[in-house]
């Protein structure tokens, strides 16, 4: 019974939204210049952010799961922080650090690197909030699966690179896949940190969630249509995740 209530709690609002969508206007609303610019920017930045997250997050997950360095718990807590922080707080943190008057931002600007109001700022915001999703998925997998098989492989004479290639990676691939998909979906949905840190300019920093927020001011139907698009992409990503898990 609680399970049914839980499922309803999630499904009902989505159904409610679908019931309100102006389906006849949908094709027109989704192909406006603004909508296409926002969708294109969202996809590009989310792919870039996901790439950064995988390249940096996978090694971090391995270190967190396999090593016993002092202070590792502190690191784990910090890495998971964006998961529970309000996105606006994440944005303010980025602003205080990489903004034009921020801790590093001022120095970067002196070097000619201006992150403010750039697409790079969007990617940074997305990477910041989606990193924990990958690290969490992967670290859990590394902890539960692996150890014994790797030891066996090693005692049977496999070299470390062979162990990594033939045993570790295949075992971790599903978790890496689902973690990557989650990070991508989170990047796609990123809103608060982007608005706070990167701003909102069509084609440069205005991603799909920001476009939805803006459209809602004047044309709630257009906002609903774009929301459906975002939900559809998210559903596809989640389905893809389940396929890799099997």
């Amino acid at each position: 019974m609680p399970a049914a209530v839980a499922a309803t709690l999630v499904a009902l609002p989505v159904l409610g939204m679908l019931a309100r969508v102006p389906w006849d206007r949908l094709p027109g609303l989704l192909t406006t210049d603004s909508a296409l610019a926002a969708l294109g920017l969202s996809l590009r930045t989310s792919v870039a952010a996901t790439a950064i997250v995988v390249v940096l997050g996978a090694p971090l997950a391995l270190v967190l799961a396999r090593t016993r360095l002092p202070g590792l718990r502190v690191v784990r807590t910090l890495v998971l922080l964006p998961l529970v922080l309000p996105p606006v707080v994440s944005g303010l943190a980025l602003l205080a650090t990489l903004g034009r008057r921020g801790l590093l931002g001022a120095r970067l600007e002196a070097l000619g690197v201006d992150i403010a109001f750039s697409t790079a700022a969007v990617v940074l915001a997305q990477a910041f909030v989606s990193l924990p999703f990958l690290v969490l998925s992967l670290e859990g997998a590394v902890r539960t699966a692996g150890g014994r098989y790797e030891q066996v492989a090693a005692t049977l004479g496999a070299r470390p690179t062979t162990v990594l290639r033939r045993v570790s990676l295949p075992l971790l691939l599903p978790a890496l896949g689902s973690g990557t998909a989650l990070a991508f979906a989170r990047s796609l949905g990123e809103f608060g940190a982007t608005l706070t840190f990167a701003g909102s300019l069509e084609g440069v920093t205005r991603t799909l969630p920001l476009e939805i927020y803006l459209q809602r001011e004047t044309d709630p139907e257009a906002a609903l249509a774009l929301s459906v698009l975002l939900v559809a992409v998210a559903v596809v990503v989640v389905l893809a995740t389940h396929r890799t898990r099997r």
Binding site: A116, T196, G199, L201, R216, T218
Partner: protein, 265 residues
């Protein structure tokens, strides 16, 4: 001014008549009923007065609520703040409320066209101003002298963006902002944090920011007006709504609004 007092009096009469209607048979206009009692015979109004107001009015409305409660001890004012579009959406969805105050006439018209509110009156006006971080680090001297400076404005879809575009048009310049925000508070935040070199916000925002921003004079700035209407919500308590609208359009409303930097219609 006189005209407006008369309009206010007329409004009270209309609302009183409406109150009679709803007290009798409830025509069912609007959705969901208010939590406070609707049928009140006569004399001193009392009960919970629910006001939905645009976020930019928050300080003014809070002061006004205190004044109304002081003058009418049996009235308890409940306030809810948000973006105008959000508030209208809430009213259309049947949120219990007696008064709606938005930051522009477009959103109010949407509520009126849907039959959710009645007879909006403009209670305050606001003008766009060009602000820079204190000390003006980028040396901005006007809308026409921005080259290289990072300018942030509101998007044309929201009222403060329309005002900024109108100000630019009157000055014969085309703005090239680095960001078009969806709320004026976001514009102000980017200027006060130094992220932007300049921004167009409302006169009231500049005043609220205190010493964090300097205002750079732009010709014609005070001629561009954004109007704030207030209206009684149909289905709410008309008597309490009239009480509130009277307070806003008369004293103490005028004093409080003027103190916050609004101009009065």
């Amino acid at each position: 001014m006189r005209l407006h007092h008369r309009a206010g009096a007329l409004l009270v009469a209309v609302l009183a008549a409406l109150a009679g209607c709803t007290g009798g048979g409830s025509d069912g206009a609007g959705a969901g009923g208010p939590s406070a009692g609707t049928a009140r015979s006569s004399g001193e109004a009392g009960g919970e007065l629910v006001v939905l107001a645009a976020a930019s009015l928050s300080e003014v409305v809070e002061e006004l609520a205190a004044a109304v409660e002081a003058a009418h001890p049996s009235v308890e004012v409940t306030l809810s703040f948000g973006g105008s579009a959000d508030l209208v959406a809430q009213v259309l969805a049947g949120a219990p409320a007696d008064v709606l105050m938005t930051a522009d006439e477009t959103t109010m018209t949407r509520a009126e066209d849907d039959g959710a509110v009645t007879a909006p009156v403009v209670v305050a006006e606001n003008s766009p101003v060009l602000v820079v971080p204190t000390g003006n680090p980028a040396g901005v001297t006007g809308l026409d002298d921005l080259d290289g400076a990072a300018l942030v404005v509101c998007a044309p879809l929201v009222p403060c963006g329309t005002a900024a575009a109108e100000l630019a048009r009157r000055n014969g310049v085309t703005l090239a902002p680095v960001s078009e925000e969806s709320a004026v508070t976001d514009v102000l935040g980017k200027v006060t944090s130094g992220q932007a070199d300049a921004g167009v916000v409302y006169a009231t925002d500049a005043r609220r920011a205190g010493g964090a921003v300097d205002v750079v004079d732009v010709p014609g700035s005070t001629d561009v007006l954004n109007r704030y209407p207030a209206a009684a919500v149909i289905g709410g308590d008309a008597e309490l709504a009239a009480l509130w609208l009277d307070a806003v359009t008369g004293e103490p409303g005028r004093t409080v609004l003027a103190d916050a930097g609004f101009t009065l219609p």
